[in-house]
Protein backbone atom coordinates (compact mmCIF):
# COMPACT_ATOMS: atom_id res chain seq x y z
CA UNK A 1 0.00 0.00 0.00
CA UNK A 2 1.23 3.45 -0.85
CA UNK A 3 1.80 5.87 1.99
CA UNK A 4 0.73 8.70 -0.30
CA UNK A 5 -3.02 7.95 -0.30
CA UNK A 6 -3.46 10.53 2.44
CA UNK A 7 -2.10 13.22 0.10
CA UNK A 8 -4.87 12.73 -2.44
CA UNK A 9 -7.85 15.04 -2.24
CA UNK A 10 -11.37 14.01 -3.13
CA UNK A 11 -11.08 14.43 -6.90
CA UNK A 12 -7.76 12.57 -7.42
CA UNK A 13 -8.83 9.85 -5.00
CA UNK A 14 -12.15 9.42 -6.82
CA UNK A 15 -10.16 9.02 -10.06
CA UNK A 16 -7.80 6.46 -8.46
CA UNK A 17 -10.79 4.46 -7.22
CA UNK A 18 -12.48 4.70 -10.60
CA UNK A 19 -9.35 3.49 -12.37
CA UNK A 20 -8.94 0.63 -9.91
CA UNK A 21 -5.54 1.84 -8.65
CA UNK A 22 -6.73 1.38 -5.10
CA UNK A 23 -9.79 0.04 -3.29
CA UNK A 24 -11.90 1.93 -0.80
CA UNK A 25 -11.01 -0.69 1.82
CA UNK A 26 -7.27 0.00 1.33
CA UNK A 27 -7.68 3.77 1.57
CA UNK A 28 -10.04 3.53 4.54
CA UNK A 29 -7.70 1.20 6.43
CA UNK A 30 -4.76 3.48 5.71
CA UNK A 31 -6.58 6.58 6.98
CA UNK A 32 -7.98 4.81 10.07
CA UNK A 33 -4.41 3.89 11.05
CA UNK A 34 -3.28 7.43 10.35
CA UNK A 35 -6.01 9.18 12.33
CA UNK A 36 -5.42 6.89 15.31
CA UNK A 37 -1.75 7.92 15.22
CA UNK A 38 -2.73 11.62 15.24
CA UNK A 39 -5.15 11.56 18.16
CA UNK A 40 -3.14 14.34 19.82
CA UNK A 41 -4.87 16.78 17.43
CA UNK A 42 -8.18 16.17 19.18
CA UNK A 43 -9.99 16.32 15.85
CA UNK A 44 -12.15 13.20 16.17
CA UNK A 45 -14.84 12.72 18.82
CA UNK A 46 -16.03 9.31 17.63
CA UNK A 47 -14.82 6.60 15.29
CA UNK A 48 -15.90 3.03 14.58
CA UNK A 49 -13.29 1.33 12.40
CA UNK A 50 -15.44 -1.77 11.82
CA UNK A 51 -18.31 0.39 10.61
CA UNK A 52 -16.02 2.39 8.30
CA UNK A 53 -14.50 -0.77 6.82
CA UNK A 54 -17.95 -2.30 6.29
CA UNK A 55 -18.98 0.85 4.41
CA UNK A 56 -15.75 0.67 2.38
CA UNK A 57 -16.46 -2.96 1.43
CA UNK A 58 -19.99 -1.96 0.40
CA UNK A 59 -18.55 0.89 -1.67
CA UNK A 60 -16.12 -1.44 -3.45
CA UNK A 61 -18.98 -3.87 -4.15
CA UNK A 62 -21.12 -1.02 -5.49
CA UNK A 63 -18.31 0.01 -7.80
CA UNK A 64 -17.78 -3.57 -8.96
CA UNK A 65 -21.50 -3.75 -9.75
CA UNK A 66 -21.22 -0.64 -11.93
CA UNK A 67 -23.43 1.39 -9.59
CA UNK A 68 -20.82 3.86 -8.33
CA UNK A 69 -21.37 7.59 -7.91
CA UNK A 70 -18.22 9.67 -8.53
CA UNK A 71 -17.71 9.92 -4.72
CA UNK A 72 -18.38 6.26 -3.91
CA UNK A 73 -15.69 4.86 -1.62
CA UNK A 74 -14.06 8.23 -0.85
CA UNK A 75 -13.75 8.70 2.94
CA UNK A 76 -15.33 11.68 4.71
CA UNK A 77 -15.90 12.69 8.34
CA UNK A 78 -18.76 14.76 9.68
CA UNK A 79 -18.76 17.71 12.01
CA UNK A 80 -20.45 16.46 15.16
CA UNK A 81 -23.25 18.97 14.67
CA UNK A 82 -24.81 16.55 12.13
CA UNK A 83 -26.76 13.75 13.74
CA UNK A 84 -25.93 10.18 12.72
CA UNK A 85 -27.56 6.90 13.63
CA UNK A 86 -24.35 4.90 13.54
CA UNK A 87 -22.21 7.12 15.81
CA UNK A 88 -23.00 9.31 18.86
CA UNK A 89 -23.98 12.91 18.13
CA UNK A 90 -22.87 15.47 20.73
CA UNK A 91 -22.71 18.94 19.12
CA UNK A 92 -19.56 19.33 21.25
CA UNK A 93 -21.75 19.59 24.36
CA UNK A 94 -21.96 17.73 27.63
CA UNK A 95 -25.71 18.20 27.19
CA UNK A 96 -25.68 15.60 24.40
CA UNK A 97 -22.83 13.35 25.60
CA UNK A 98 -23.56 9.87 24.25
CA UNK A 99 -26.75 10.98 22.45
CA UNK A 100 -27.94 8.32 19.99
CA UNK A 101 -29.87 9.92 17.14
CA UNK A 102 -32.80 7.94 15.76
CA UNK A 103 -32.11 9.33 12.26
CA UNK A 104 -29.38 10.65 9.94
CA UNK A 105 -29.11 14.30 8.91
CA UNK A 106 -30.10 14.82 5.27
CA UNK A 107 -26.56 15.90 4.34
CA UNK A 108 -25.13 12.74 5.95
CA UNK A 109 -27.68 10.55 4.15
CA UNK A 110 -27.01 12.19 0.77
CA UNK A 111 -23.28 11.57 1.07
CA UNK A 112 -23.54 8.11 2.62
CA UNK A 113 -24.59 4.58 1.86
CA UNK A 114 -27.75 3.30 0.19
CA UNK A 115 -29.53 6.10 -1.67
CA UNK A 116 -26.56 8.42 -1.10
CA UNK A 117 -23.25 8.95 -2.91
CA UNK A 118 -21.62 6.03 -1.08
CA UNK A 119 -18.87 7.91 0.77
CA UNK A 120 -17.28 6.12 3.73
CA UNK A 121 -17.80 7.75 7.14
CA UNK A 122 -14.52 7.80 9.11
CA UNK A 123 -16.01 9.42 12.21
CA UNK A 124 -17.41 12.51 13.88
CA UNK A 125 -15.38 15.69 14.26
CA UNK A 126 -14.87 17.98 17.22
CA UNK A 127 -16.41 21.46 17.16
CA UNK A 128 -17.29 24.35 19.44
CA UNK A 129 -20.29 23.57 21.64
CA UNK A 130 -23.44 23.96 19.51
CA UNK A 131 -21.16 25.56 16.88
CA UNK A 132 -20.69 28.64 19.06
CA UNK A 133 -17.10 29.80 18.84
CA UNK A 134 -14.20 30.81 16.64
CA UNK A 135 -11.40 28.61 17.96
CA UNK A 136 -12.87 25.23 18.97
CA UNK A 137 -11.95 25.92 22.60
CA UNK A 138 -15.62 25.87 23.57
CA UNK A 139 -15.95 22.13 22.98
CA UNK A 140 -16.93 20.18 26.10
CA UNK A 141 -14.57 17.45 24.87
CA UNK A 142 -11.37 19.46 24.71
CA UNK A 143 -9.69 21.70 22.18
CA UNK A 144 -8.49 20.83 18.69
CA UNK A 145 -4.90 21.65 17.75
CA UNK A 146 -3.90 23.33 14.52
CA UNK A 147 -1.75 20.84 12.54
CA UNK A 148 0.50 23.70 11.33
CA UNK A 149 1.40 24.58 14.95
CA UNK A 150 0.14 22.42 17.78
CA UNK A 151 0.16 25.40 20.15
CA UNK A 152 -2.36 27.24 17.98
CA UNK A 153 -6.11 26.94 17.55
CA UNK A 154 -7.58 25.52 14.32
CA UNK A 155 -10.33 28.16 14.23
CA UNK A 156 -13.94 27.34 14.74
CA UNK A 157 -16.53 26.31 15.07
CA UNK A 158 -15.72 23.61 12.47
CA UNK A 159 -12.22 23.25 13.96
CA UNK A 160 -12.09 19.44 13.93
CA UNK A 161 -13.15 19.43 10.26
CA UNK A 162 -10.45 21.90 9.22
CA UNK A 163 -7.70 20.24 11.28
CA UNK A 164 -8.54 16.72 10.06
CA UNK A 165 -8.49 17.78 6.40
CA UNK A 166 -5.30 19.85 6.82
CA UNK A 167 -3.49 17.03 8.65
CA UNK A 168 -4.37 14.61 5.84
CA UNK A 169 -6.42 12.41 8.17
CA UNK A 170 -9.37 12.54 5.79
CA UNK A 171 -9.77 14.05 2.30
CA UNK A 172 -13.09 15.74 3.07
CA UNK A 173 -15.26 16.87 5.92
CA UNK A 174 -18.60 18.51 6.41
CA UNK A 175 -18.83 21.78 8.25
CA UNK A 176 -21.47 24.31 9.17
CA UNK A 177 -21.25 28.07 9.00
CA UNK A 178 -23.47 30.42 10.99
CA UNK A 179 -21.16 33.45 11.21
CA UNK A 180 -17.98 32.09 9.58
CA UNK A 181 -17.60 28.61 11.03
CA UNK A 182 -16.57 27.02 7.72
CA UNK A 183 -14.57 29.90 6.25
CA UNK A 184 -12.52 30.93 9.29
CA UNK A 185 -11.20 27.46 10.29
CA UNK A 186 -10.56 26.74 6.59
CA UNK A 187 -8.43 29.90 6.53
CA UNK A 188 -6.62 29.05 9.79
CA UNK A 189 -5.79 25.51 8.62
CA UNK A 190 -5.10 26.16 4.93
CA UNK A 191 -7.97 24.14 3.48
CA UNK A 192 -10.71 25.07 1.00
CA UNK A 193 -14.24 25.52 2.31
CA UNK A 194 -17.49 26.87 0.94
CA UNK A 195 -20.58 28.07 2.74
CA UNK A 196 -23.29 28.00 0.10
CA UNK A 197 -26.27 30.33 -0.16
CA UNK A 198 -28.68 29.97 2.76
CA UNK A 199 -31.13 27.21 1.84
CA UNK A 200 -28.89 25.26 -0.56
CA UNK A 201 -28.05 22.44 1.90
CA UNK A 202 -30.73 20.99 4.12
CA UNK A 203 -30.62 21.87 7.81
CA UNK A 204 -32.56 18.70 8.69
CA UNK A 205 -30.52 16.84 11.30
CA UNK A 206 -28.08 19.72 11.86
CA UNK A 207 -28.29 20.56 15.57
CA UNK A 208 -29.80 24.06 15.42
CA UNK A 209 -27.85 27.11 16.56
CA UNK A 210 -29.33 30.09 14.68
CA UNK A 211 -31.85 28.84 12.16
CA UNK A 212 -31.91 31.87 9.83
CA UNK A 213 -28.10 31.72 9.50
CA UNK A 214 -27.01 28.06 9.82
CA UNK A 215 -25.79 26.55 6.56
CA UNK A 216 -23.84 23.37 5.82
CA UNK A 217 -20.97 23.10 3.38
CA UNK A 218 -17.94 21.01 2.44
CA UNK A 219 -14.33 21.48 3.59
CA UNK A 220 -11.64 19.80 1.52
CA UNK A 221 -8.30 20.29 -0.26
CA UNK A 222 -9.48 22.15 -3.35
CA UNK A 223 -12.30 24.01 -5.07
CA UNK A 224 -12.75 20.98 -7.31
CA UNK A 225 -13.19 18.73 -4.25
CA UNK A 226 -15.73 21.17 -2.81
CA UNK A 227 -17.64 21.29 -6.12
CA UNK A 228 -17.99 17.50 -6.18
CA UNK A 229 -19.05 17.35 -2.54
CA UNK A 230 -21.49 20.26 -2.72
CA UNK A 231 -23.20 18.73 -5.77
CA UNK A 232 -23.98 15.66 -3.65
CA UNK A 233 -24.97 17.62 -0.51
CA UNK A 234 -27.22 20.29 -2.04
CA UNK A 235 -30.81 20.20 -3.18
CA UNK A 236 -34.34 20.74 -1.96
CA UNK A 237 -35.40 18.87 1.18
CA UNK A 238 -39.08 19.01 2.20
CA UNK A 239 -38.01 18.31 5.80
CA UNK A 240 -36.28 21.71 6.07
CA UNK A 241 -38.86 24.52 6.06
CA UNK A 242 -36.37 27.01 4.60
CA UNK A 243 -34.77 24.70 2.03
CA UNK A 244 -34.50 26.48 -1.34
CA UNK A 245 -36.93 24.98 -3.85
CA UNK A 246 -34.53 24.50 -6.74
CA UNK A 247 -32.73 21.46 -8.12
CA UNK A 248 -29.11 20.85 -7.10
CA UNK A 249 -26.89 22.07 -9.93
CA UNK A 250 -23.82 20.22 -11.14
CA UNK A 251 -21.33 22.54 -9.46
CA UNK A 252 -18.41 20.61 -10.91
CA UNK A 253 -19.62 21.28 -14.46
CA UNK A 254 -20.20 24.95 -13.57
CA UNK A 255 -16.68 25.15 -12.15
CA UNK A 256 -15.16 23.72 -15.32
CA UNK A 257 -17.26 25.67 -17.83
CA UNK A 258 -15.05 28.30 -19.51
CA UNK A 259 -16.11 31.93 -19.18
CA UNK A 260 -17.42 33.52 -22.32
CA UNK A 261 -14.59 35.46 -23.96
CA UNK A 262 -11.90 33.84 -21.83
CA UNK A 263 -8.57 33.26 -23.55
CA UNK A 264 -5.88 30.70 -22.82
CA UNK A 265 -4.00 31.78 -19.69
CA UNK A 266 -6.78 34.28 -18.93
CA UNK A 267 -9.59 32.05 -17.63
CA UNK A 268 -11.04 34.91 -15.56
CA UNK A 269 -11.08 37.46 -18.40
CA UNK A 270 -13.89 39.94 -17.77
CA UNK A 271 -14.56 38.85 -14.17
CA UNK A 272 -14.99 41.89 -11.92
CA UNK A 273 -13.89 41.36 -8.32
CA UNK A 274 -15.02 43.96 -5.80
CA UNK A 275 -12.78 44.88 -2.89
CA UNK A 276 -14.77 46.49 -0.05
CA UNK A 277 -12.53 49.12 1.49
CA UNK A 278 -13.92 48.16 4.92
CA UNK A 279 -12.30 44.71 4.48
CA UNK A 280 -8.83 46.30 4.50
CA UNK A 281 -8.80 48.38 7.70
CA UNK A 282 -5.79 49.55 9.71
CA UNK A 283 -6.38 46.68 12.14
CA UNK A 284 -5.83 44.05 9.46
CA UNK A 285 -2.61 42.18 10.25
CA UNK A 286 0.20 42.93 7.79
CA UNK A 287 0.96 39.30 7.03
CA UNK A 288 -2.69 38.59 6.23
CA UNK A 289 -2.97 41.65 4.01
CA UNK A 290 0.19 40.74 2.09
CA UNK A 291 -1.02 37.20 1.37
CA UNK A 292 -4.48 38.40 0.36
CA UNK A 293 -3.10 41.14 -1.92
CA UNK A 294 -0.76 38.62 -3.55
CA UNK A 295 -3.70 36.29 -4.25
CA UNK A 296 -5.66 39.22 -5.71
CA UNK A 297 -2.69 40.06 -7.97
CA UNK A 298 -2.73 36.44 -9.12
CA UNK A 299 -6.44 36.72 -9.94
CA UNK A 300 -5.67 39.86 -11.95
CA UNK A 301 -3.00 37.95 -13.91
CA UNK A 302 -5.68 35.40 -14.71
CA UNK A 303 -7.76 38.13 -16.31
CA UNK A 304 -9.92 39.43 -13.46
CA UNK A 305 -10.42 43.15 -12.90
CA UNK A 306 -10.30 44.54 -9.36
CA UNK A 307 -12.82 47.26 -8.51
CA UNK A 308 -13.27 49.31 -5.35
CA UNK A 309 -16.61 48.85 -3.60
CA UNK A 310 -17.97 49.63 -0.15
CA UNK A 311 -19.83 47.68 2.52
CA UNK A 312 -20.34 50.59 4.90
CA UNK A 313 -22.00 48.54 7.65
CA UNK A 314 -19.23 45.92 7.97
CA UNK A 315 -18.42 46.89 11.57
CA UNK A 316 -22.08 47.05 12.53
CA UNK A 317 -22.47 43.46 11.40
CA UNK A 318 -20.79 42.42 14.68
CA UNK A 319 -23.49 43.69 17.08
CA UNK A 320 -26.23 42.81 14.55
CA UNK A 321 -25.03 39.22 14.33
CA UNK A 322 -24.40 38.88 18.06
CA UNK A 323 -28.00 40.00 18.73
CA UNK A 324 -29.71 37.85 16.09
CA UNK A 325 -27.72 34.63 16.48
CA UNK A 326 -28.05 34.47 20.31
CA UNK A 327 -31.76 35.35 20.06
CA UNK A 328 -32.34 32.40 17.76
CA UNK A 329 -30.04 30.22 19.88
CA UNK A 330 -31.89 31.00 23.11
CA UNK A 331 -35.08 29.85 21.42
CA UNK A 332 -33.56 26.76 19.76
CA UNK A 333 -31.74 25.62 22.90
CA UNK A 334 -34.87 25.76 25.03
CA UNK A 335 -35.43 22.17 23.87
CA UNK A 336 -32.62 21.02 26.17
CA UNK A 337 -34.70 20.58 29.31
CA UNK A 338 -33.55 17.26 30.72
CA UNK A 339 -36.82 15.55 29.76
CA UNK A 340 -36.85 14.21 26.21
CA UNK A 341 -33.16 13.54 25.57
CA UNK A 342 -29.70 14.46 26.73
CA UNK A 343 -28.30 15.32 30.13
CA UNK A 344 -30.42 15.50 33.30
CA UNK A 345 -29.11 16.84 36.61
CA UNK A 346 -28.79 14.28 39.39
CA UNK A 347 -30.18 16.47 42.15
CA UNK A 348 -33.34 18.50 41.70
CA UNK A 349 -36.61 19.22 43.46
CA UNK A 350 -39.49 20.48 41.38
CA UNK A 351 -39.77 20.69 37.60
CA UNK A 352 -38.28 24.17 37.44
CA UNK A 353 -35.19 23.15 39.36
CA UNK A 354 -34.90 20.11 37.07
CA UNK A 355 -34.75 22.51 34.10
CA UNK A 356 -32.47 25.05 35.76
CA UNK A 357 -29.92 22.60 37.14
CA UNK A 358 -29.88 20.43 34.03
CA UNK A 359 -29.16 23.46 31.86
CA UNK A 360 -26.61 24.90 34.30
CA UNK A 361 -24.69 21.60 34.27
CA UNK A 362 -25.12 20.70 30.61
CA UNK A 363 -24.14 23.98 28.91
CA UNK A 364 -20.66 25.50 28.86
CA UNK A 365 -19.85 29.19 29.55
CA UNK A 366 -20.08 30.51 25.96
CA UNK A 367 -23.42 28.80 25.34
CA UNK A 368 -24.78 30.20 28.60
CA UNK A 369 -23.61 33.69 27.63
CA UNK A 370 -25.37 33.51 24.29
CA UNK A 371 -28.56 32.13 25.84
CA UNK A 372 -28.50 35.04 28.31
CA UNK A 373 -27.95 37.64 25.56
CA UNK A 374 -30.67 36.08 23.43
CA UNK A 375 -33.16 35.82 26.25
CA UNK A 376 -32.54 39.44 27.18
CA UNK A 377 -32.91 40.92 23.67
CA UNK A 378 -36.14 39.00 23.11
CA UNK A 379 -37.60 39.91 26.50
CA UNK A 380 -40.47 42.31 27.05
CA UNK A 381 -39.41 45.92 26.69
CA UNK A 382 -36.13 45.20 24.87
CA UNK A 383 -37.31 43.41 21.72
CA UNK A 384 -37.76 46.56 19.58
CA UNK A 385 -34.55 48.24 20.71
CA UNK A 386 -32.33 45.22 20.07
CA UNK A 387 -33.82 42.35 18.13
CA UNK A 388 -36.00 44.35 15.74
CA UNK A 389 -33.33 47.01 15.24
CA UNK A 390 -30.81 44.26 14.40
CA UNK A 391 -33.15 42.67 11.85
CA UNK A 392 -33.66 46.05 10.16
CA UNK A 393 -29.91 46.59 10.00
CA UNK A 394 -29.61 43.11 8.57
CA UNK A 395 -31.81 44.25 5.65
CA UNK A 396 -29.54 47.27 5.13
CA UNK A 397 -26.46 45.02 5.13
CA UNK A 398 -28.07 42.72 2.54
CA UNK A 399 -28.99 45.78 0.42
CA UNK A 400 -25.37 47.03 0.64
CA UNK A 401 -24.24 43.78 -0.99
CA UNK A 402 -26.76 44.16 -3.82
CA UNK A 403 -25.43 47.67 -4.41
CA UNK A 404 -21.90 46.22 -4.68
CA UNK A 405 -22.98 43.49 -7.07
CA UNK A 406 -24.10 46.15 -9.54
CA UNK A 407 -20.38 46.92 -9.99
CA UNK A 408 -18.78 43.49 -9.56
CA UNK A 409 -19.39 39.76 -9.98
CA UNK A 410 -17.61 38.56 -6.84
CA UNK A 411 -16.38 40.24 -3.66
CA UNK A 412 -12.98 39.42 -2.17
CA UNK A 413 -11.07 40.14 1.01
CA UNK A 414 -9.51 38.45 4.00
CA UNK A 415 -11.41 35.79 5.97
CA UNK A 416 -10.06 36.86 9.35
CA UNK A 417 -7.97 39.82 10.57
CA UNK A 418 -5.11 37.56 11.74
CA UNK A 419 -3.67 34.08 11.34
CA UNK A 420 -4.54 31.40 13.93
CA UNK A 421 -3.97 32.55 17.49
CA UNK A 422 -2.40 30.60 20.37
CA UNK A 423 -4.48 28.17 22.41
CA UNK A 424 -6.11 29.99 25.32
CA UNK A 425 -5.41 33.46 23.90
CA UNK A 426 -9.06 34.56 23.67
CA UNK A 427 -10.61 32.63 26.52
CA UNK A 428 -10.83 35.56 28.95
CA UNK A 429 -12.47 38.08 26.65
CA UNK A 430 -15.46 36.84 24.65
CA UNK A 431 -16.09 40.25 23.05
CA UNK A 432 -12.56 40.30 21.62
CA UNK A 433 -13.29 36.95 19.96
CA UNK A 434 -16.55 38.32 18.52
CA UNK A 435 -14.68 41.24 16.93
CA UNK A 436 -12.42 38.83 15.03
CA UNK A 437 -15.49 37.57 13.10
CA UNK A 438 -15.85 40.92 11.34
CA UNK A 439 -15.14 39.79 7.75
CA UNK A 440 -17.29 36.66 7.76
CA UNK A 441 -20.42 38.02 9.45
CA UNK A 442 -21.72 40.31 6.66
CA UNK A 443 -22.18 37.48 4.11
CA UNK A 444 -23.74 35.29 6.81
CA UNK A 445 -26.31 37.94 7.71
CA UNK A 446 -27.18 38.43 4.04
CA UNK A 447 -27.31 34.65 3.41
CA UNK A 448 -24.76 34.91 0.58
CA UNK A 449 -22.33 32.15 -0.44
CA UNK A 450 -18.73 32.56 0.72
CA UNK A 451 -15.50 30.62 0.38
CA UNK A 452 -12.10 30.46 1.95
CA UNK A 453 -9.34 29.63 -0.52
CA UNK A 454 -5.71 29.14 0.63
CA UNK A 455 -3.88 32.35 -0.35
CA UNK A 456 -0.45 31.84 1.14
CA UNK A 457 1.27 31.96 4.50
CA UNK A 458 1.78 34.61 7.12
CA UNK A 459 3.45 34.91 10.51
CA UNK A 460 5.22 31.73 11.66
CA UNK A 461 4.32 29.95 8.42
CA UNK A 462 0.63 29.85 9.28
CA UNK A 463 -1.95 29.65 6.48
CA UNK A 464 -3.96 32.66 5.28
CA UNK A 465 -7.27 32.31 3.43
CA UNK A 466 -8.72 34.53 0.74
CA UNK A 467 -12.44 35.08 1.17
CA UNK A 468 -14.59 35.13 -1.96
CA UNK A 469 -18.25 36.11 -1.68
CA UNK A 470 -20.78 35.61 -4.46
CA UNK A 471 -24.35 36.73 -5.09
CA UNK A 472 -27.25 34.41 -4.19
CA UNK A 473 -26.93 30.95 -5.77
CA UNK A 474 -23.73 31.96 -7.57
CA UNK A 475 -21.66 29.10 -6.10
CA UNK A 476 -20.63 28.02 -9.61
CA UNK A 477 -18.90 31.35 -10.27
CA UNK A 478 -17.18 31.25 -6.85
CA UNK A 479 -15.88 27.74 -7.46
CA UNK A 480 -14.78 28.65 -11.00
CA UNK A 481 -12.68 31.56 -9.75
CA UNK A 482 -11.24 29.55 -6.86
CA UNK A 483 -10.39 26.68 -9.22
CA UNK A 484 -8.64 29.05 -11.62
CA UNK A 485 -6.57 30.42 -8.74
CA UNK A 486 -5.69 26.89 -7.63
CA UNK A 487 -4.59 25.96 -11.16
CA UNK A 488 -2.09 28.84 -10.95
CA UNK A 489 -0.94 28.45 -7.32
CA UNK A 490 -0.07 25.51 -5.07
CA UNK A 491 -0.93 26.84 -1.60
CA UNK A 492 -3.85 24.41 -1.33
CA UNK A 493 -1.46 21.47 -1.93
CA UNK A 494 0.95 22.36 0.88
CA UNK A 495 0.68 20.14 3.92
CA UNK A 496 1.88 20.61 7.49
CA UNK A 497 4.85 18.47 8.58
CA UNK A 498 3.99 14.82 9.42
Amino acid sequence: MSAAWQDLGVAPLARALQQGQVSSVEVTQHLLTRLAAHSQLGAFLATDPELSLAQARAADARRAAGQAHVLTGVPIAHKDIFVTRALPSTAGSKMLAGYASPFDATVVARLGEGEGAGMVMLGKLNCDEFAMGSDNENSAFGPVRNPWDLQRVPGGSSGGSAAAVAARLVPAATGTDTGGSIRQPASFCGVTGIKPTYGVCSRYGMVAFASSLDQAGPMARSAEDCALLLSAMAGFDPRDATSAERPAPDYHAQMLAPREGAAAGKPLQGLRIGLPKEFFPQALAGDVERAVRAALAELEKLGATLVDVSLPRTELSIPVYYIIAPAEASSNLSRFDGVKFGHRAKDYGDLRSLYERTRAEGFGPEVKRRIMIGTYVLSHGYYDAYYLQAQKLRRMIADDFQACFRHCDLIAGPVAPTVAWKLGAQQDDPVKAYLADIFTLPASLAGLPGMSVPAGFGEAGLPVGLQLIGNYFDEGRLLHAAHALQQATDFHLRAPAA
Binding site: G342, F363, A385, Q402, V431
Partner: protein, 99 residues
Protein backbone atom coordinates in the same frame (compact mmCIF):
# COMPACT_ATOMS: atom_id res chain seq x y z
CA UNK B 1 -26.94 51.66 29.82
CA UNK B 2 -25.57 49.05 32.19
CA UNK B 3 -27.12 45.81 33.37
CA UNK B 4 -27.47 45.27 37.12
CA UNK B 5 -27.12 42.08 39.17
CA UNK B 6 -30.94 42.06 39.37
CA UNK B 7 -31.14 42.05 35.57
CA UNK B 8 -28.84 39.04 35.45
CA UNK B 9 -31.03 37.22 37.99
CA UNK B 10 -34.16 38.00 35.98
CA UNK B 11 -32.65 36.91 32.65
CA UNK B 12 -31.23 33.70 34.20
CA UNK B 13 -34.70 32.91 35.53
CA UNK B 14 -36.28 33.46 32.11
CA UNK B 15 -33.55 31.32 30.51
CA UNK B 16 -33.93 28.59 33.16
CA UNK B 17 -30.24 28.67 34.05
CA UNK B 18 -29.22 28.07 37.66
CA UNK B 19 -26.06 30.21 37.65
CA UNK B 20 -23.63 30.14 40.59
CA UNK B 21 -22.55 33.33 42.36
CA UNK B 22 -19.19 33.65 40.57
CA UNK B 23 -20.87 32.78 37.24
CA UNK B 24 -23.36 35.62 37.76
CA UNK B 25 -20.62 38.15 38.46
CA UNK B 26 -18.62 37.10 35.38
CA UNK B 27 -21.81 37.13 33.30
CA UNK B 28 -22.64 40.66 34.44
CA UNK B 29 -19.21 41.97 33.43
CA UNK B 30 -19.25 40.13 30.09
CA UNK B 31 -22.80 41.18 29.19
CA UNK B 32 -21.97 44.80 29.96
CA UNK B 33 -18.83 44.49 27.84
CA UNK B 34 -20.94 43.11 25.01
CA UNK B 35 -23.68 45.73 25.21
CA UNK B 36 -20.92 48.32 24.95
CA UNK B 37 -20.46 47.36 21.29
CA UNK B 38 -24.23 47.12 20.75
CA UNK B 39 -24.78 50.80 21.47
CA UNK B 40 -23.27 51.73 18.08
CA UNK B 41 -26.08 49.80 16.46
CA UNK B 42 -28.78 51.67 18.34
CA UNK B 43 -27.66 55.01 16.91
CA UNK B 44 -28.51 54.07 13.30
CA UNK B 45 -31.73 55.47 11.84
CA UNK B 46 -33.70 52.47 10.55
CA UNK B 47 -37.10 54.11 10.21
CA UNK B 48 -39.00 52.70 7.24
CA UNK B 49 -36.66 49.68 6.88
CA UNK B 50 -38.31 46.26 6.76
CA UNK B 51 -36.68 43.71 9.06
CA UNK B 52 -34.96 40.80 7.25
CA UNK B 53 -36.02 37.74 9.23
CA UNK B 54 -34.92 35.20 6.64
CA UNK B 55 -32.11 36.03 4.23
CA UNK B 56 -33.52 34.96 0.87
CA UNK B 57 -36.40 37.41 1.29
CA UNK B 58 -33.80 40.10 0.54
CA UNK B 59 -34.14 39.21 -3.16
CA UNK B 60 -37.24 37.04 -3.59
CA UNK B 61 -40.67 36.40 -2.11
CA UNK B 62 -40.39 33.66 0.49
CA UNK B 63 -43.60 31.87 1.42
CA UNK B 64 -43.78 29.50 4.34
CA UNK B 65 -44.26 26.08 2.84
CA UNK B 66 -47.05 23.90 4.17
CA UNK B 67 -47.03 20.14 3.74
CA UNK B 68 -50.07 18.02 3.03
CA UNK B 69 -52.00 17.17 6.17
CA UNK B 70 -51.36 13.44 6.01
CA UNK B 71 -49.60 10.91 8.23
CA UNK B 72 -45.98 10.57 7.08
CA UNK B 73 -44.25 9.17 10.17
CA UNK B 74 -44.46 5.67 11.54
CA UNK B 75 -44.53 4.95 15.27
CA UNK B 76 -40.94 4.91 16.53
CA UNK B 77 -41.59 5.61 20.18
CA UNK B 78 -38.93 3.25 21.53
CA UNK B 79 -36.27 4.55 19.18
CA UNK B 80 -37.19 8.16 19.92
CA UNK B 81 -37.11 7.59 23.68
CA UNK B 82 -33.81 5.74 23.62
CA UNK B 83 -31.86 8.83 24.75
CA UNK B 84 -34.43 10.09 27.29
CA UNK B 85 -33.14 10.41 30.88
CA UNK B 86 -36.21 8.79 32.47
CA UNK B 87 -39.09 6.90 30.83
CA UNK B 88 -41.65 4.35 32.00
CA UNK B 89 -44.39 2.64 29.97
CA UNK B 90 -43.53 4.81 26.99
CA UNK B 91 -43.94 8.04 28.98
CA UNK B 92 -41.36 10.71 29.86
CA UNK B 93 -40.97 11.04 33.63
CA UNK B 94 -40.79 14.46 35.33
CA UNK B 95 -41.30 15.64 38.92
CA UNK B 96 -44.94 15.95 39.95
CA UNK B 97 -46.45 19.21 38.58
CA UNK B 98 -50.10 18.80 39.67
CA UNK B 99 -50.94 17.82 43.26
Amino acid sequence: MSLTPEDVNRIALLARLDLSGPEKQAMLDQLNGFFGIVERMSAVDTSGVEPLYTPLSAVQAVALRLRDDVVTETDQRELNQKSAPAVADGLFLVPKVVE
